[in-house]
Symmetry: C2
Subunit: 336 residues, 2 copies
């Protein structure tokens, strides 16, 4: 396989290098692309130094490439999609640029891997991090009884704002420990010792774009146009794993025991749920790990058709780079 | 008024001193009580040094006292309630010891102040912090259309575990900045840069006691035996204000505009809700403040009879000391 990473110097770009290695992805040649700021940097992949090339409007640069993992923001993805896919490369795009386009599949392999093959434009979209983490747990429940409603409060790590987001949290924390004022650049307000109930821009209905992604992307991935998701997305002073408190309402009542069994068997999901021994998922434990972790599973005391649980997943792994690589792996494994 | 504070050296005890002063509470004489560890310490109240007396089984110590603010834990409250109330003092107890007793009113003055007068044992219970903060916002909605269901995810500050909880978060943060391992003593796990979905002990239904307090205490305060609350309570690395993402379902649909007006008029509640200008409540801003702050008010996309909003309130103020003092103020103002 000839593989390219676009946005190689970013937090997700760097994670692509690690994930491709960890997953033992079949790579014959790896190309790295980036902005002017990043071009010329050298990264090592399996003992070989690779120089970041400038991303430019030159389709020949992507000739012969099988998979392109893109994570350089929506505007870059839009601008270069034609260049990247011109010669038949499959572009797996981590940005929000194409996610809701009807001719671009939005894929979480554990849920709707088959959709990856329905790609007239050669583009496959990688979902928003919180959605990717959530649908891995919704799928096994939806298979038992269709989910009608989801209420979800997120606890999102600084990593969702990229490397500079993580750097800002760590820097602010050090400044506060040293008795200084926290410097605010990336986030709207100080994040250290604080919570910011605002991720991405606000939309007309007073939900943020991040919250509406959870509404729209969940419907698309789950093939559930009637499923409704009301999300409150909150940035928390955690470095890199996202957490979510989720309530679901199913059409028919589903027992906690049945969901527990389904969670235990579910692909991509690891159940950590032993309250007596203080076992439940926490972001500190999930950072850098592949699976989505579920715990605190119990009946919804406010809804006879309801269940509630707690999810934690690494935002850069399943929330971004890992899911994109898993899409390519699915396509290779189920090649048509 | 002759006033006593039991547990004077604790985080809430110290806040009682500040709140009584700020509220200009009519005090002629102030007595401080504490454990053996705290007895003998001297605190200044309005220019006068007051020595902490040892709390002992001696009813004469509370003779002539009008109000006793107790915050020394449930076991101390249970042990000394008779001693404290023997000569007619009203004991306003911050612990969970008596909250669900049918002959002890559980009071948030903005919601059910009148209940304070129905106190056969001379004991009035102060609710759990998350409940006290939430019911201030539930009340104005419930007055428009009865609330049937509440789903709430909390983001609870270290202060809920007392002064030692706050100290532990700050110490852990400094340790991490210095490249050391975080020392874990008070909380079950490292709290700095982490989230712990576990507050108080687990109960038989896999909810924690903290979560069941939100279920049971809300019903009692709101006089709503049918209202159901499903809560997920999470400790977050914030020093002292609690936040809550709340969804409510009312019997009849209620417009966001109507709730907005009700919130603007509601006692004890301040609406900060201007997304265009990035105005919403945050714990860093609410720390040390009296009101409960509400924001992010919008329709519940997953429920036609639903609304959702974000609350922030100082855990030691409205969540503890302030509410207790407000109960006493209510009783003085509406004296019978």
């Amino acid at each position: 396989m000839k593989v390219a990473i676009v946005g190689a110097s970013g937090a997700v770009g760097q994670e692509f290098l690690r994930v491709l290695d960890e997953q033992n992805f079949p790579i014959d040649e790896l190309l790295l692309f980036g902005s002017e700021r990043s071009a010329g940097r050298v990264y090592n992949y399996r003992g070989k130094d690779i120089t970041v090339q400038l991303l430019r409007e030159e389709p020949e640069d992507f000739k012969g490439v099988d998979f392109v993992f893109a994570s350089a923001g929506a505007s870059v993805s839009k601008k270069y999609a034609d260049v990247i896919t011109r010669h038949g490369a499959i572009m797996i795009d981590n940005s929000s640029a194409f996610r809701m386009d009807s001719d671009v599949p939005l894929v979480v392999p554990e849920v709707n891997g088959e959709d990856a093959f329905n790609t007239p434009r050669g583009i496959i979209a990688n979902p928003n991090c919180t959605t990717a983490i959530m649908v891995v747990a919704l799928k096994p429940i939806n298979d038992i009884s269709p989910i009608k409603r989801v209420h979800v409060a997120t606890y999102q790590a600084a990593s969702g704002a990229g490397q500079s987001g993580m750097d800002e949290l760590v820097r602010q924390t050090a400044e506060l420990v040293e008795g200084k004022e926290a410097t605010v650049e990336k986030f709207a307000y100080q994040l250290a010792y604080n919570l910011i109930p605002h991720i991405d821009v606000f939309t007309d209905n007073d939900y943020t774009k991040e919250e509406m992604k959870m509404f729209n992307e969940t419907r698309k991935i789950m093939h559930a146009p009637e499923m409704s998701v009301s999300a409150t997305c909150v940035r928390v002073p955690v470095v890199r794993a996202h957490s979510e408190a989720v309530w679901v309402e199913t059409e028919e009542p589903v027992s906690v025991e049945r969901v527990r069994e389904a969670f235990e068997k579910a692909e991509g999901l690891v159940l950590i749920d032993n309250p007596a021994e203080k076992k439940y998922p926490m972001p500190l434990d999930a950072a850098g790990k592949d699976p989505v972790y579920a715990g605190r599973l119990r009946a919804d005391l406010a809804n006879p058709c309801g269940l509630t649980f707690w999810l934690v997943g690494d935002q850069i792994k399943k929330g971004a780079a890992l899911n994109a690589v898993q899409i390519a792996q699915y396509m290779i494994r189920h090649r048509r």
